[in-house]
Homo-oligomer: 201 residues x 2
């Protein structure tokens, strides 16, 4: 039918992600995106419609390839008590892996929440939805590890883990060590909620 696309879409999304993650949406220019992806403006606009279209595609890709896979760690059928600690250490590892670069990135989605999300209903709902997924994932892990907890207790504890996760990811942009320590404190607190004898690790 026609000419074939020369660039690899998922590679381009990964390259663009890096720039948006470092600089944020506003501070990223089309020229930055051209340089990072190797694409020309034409290809960017043909493929994604606009800067915002590319950003939305990047966010979607980020959720699919990074956030969601990590959420599944919370659900560990064989060893229910280990879900939360596995999740938290996975997060710590990911944060440390970006530590060698000059910028600490935290979480692309949460950085976005602090920026444009307030004035952008669609983005707000997206981020809120993810927060619910995270919190409920933690709640499921808590429930599986100790079915005797009341619903209210599970919810309050899930909020603590999810809230600390977000606090740590935000702080990672400013002080990586403190962020890692916060995740560690979250893990230790979660251990205390496990019934004796089922402690992870």
């Amino acid at each position: 039918m026609a000419r074939t696309q020369e660039f690899d879409t998922s590679k381009a999304l990964g390259d663009a992600r890096r720039v948006f993650w470092d600089k944020g949406f506003d501070a990223t220019s089309i020229a930055d995106l051209e340089a990072a992806t190797g694409l020309g403006r034409s290809s960017i606009y043909h493929g994604f419609g606009s800067k915002r279209g590319l950003f939305d595609a990047v966010i979607q890709d980020y959720m699919d390839t990074i956030l969601r896979p990590r959420l599944t760690l919370l659900h560990n059928p064989a060893h229910p008590a280990e879900g939360i600690s596995t999740y938290l250490t996975s997060l710590s590892d990911a944060l440390e892996k970006t530590a060698d670069q000059t910028t600490n990135r935290g979480c692309l989605l949460l950085n976005t929440a602090a920026g444009i999300a307030g004035n952008d209903e669609a983005l707000r709902l997206l981020i809120d939805g993810y927060q619910v997924e995270l919190r409920d994932g933690v709640a499921g892990a808590l429930r599986a590890a100790d079915p005797t907890q009341t619903d209210a207790m599970v919810l309050a504890r899930a909020r603590i883990v999810a809230g600390l996760t977000m606090g740590a990811l935000l702080m990672a942009r400013v002080n990586l060590g403190e962020a890692l320590s916060t995740l560690e404190a979250a893990g230790e607190q979660a251990q205390l909620w496990l019934p004796a004898g089922s402690q992870a690790r």
Copy 2:
């Protein structure tokens, strides 16, 4: 010696704060600031040097008039056990006060943290310093309420309260109710750390 300034500096800082808080630094234009403050460009540049100079002044003013005063709530000599819950409810009240409006959600400083690129070392240090103040303030309150805790225990618990505070403030921009519930969960968890009989409230 010369002509007197016609505008009230602290009013101007408050007006500018509202815009920066709502839209973030990048997305705020000089025209926005003119409209919000009622000042002309000349006065802005004469008084603050640049857009960034005004922003820095706004941040300084924000810390002096909002953040620091609230931090003092953590230190309650008469009733040490009440410091943390007083602080958290003060925060909740402040968040709820913005419930009707869509703007000014969360914390100006933490929103800034998510937005800064790696090159702004000064801003990074400022935000990190505040985080330390918050965490150590909580640690002081915990220690005062129960001097029998080990240092490691105090630090870990302080990280939990401070981390949850940041997580809630970030989330406030996206889901206010969830943010308030997170603060509540933080308060309840802190209650459990108090020695029996000294429970606040």
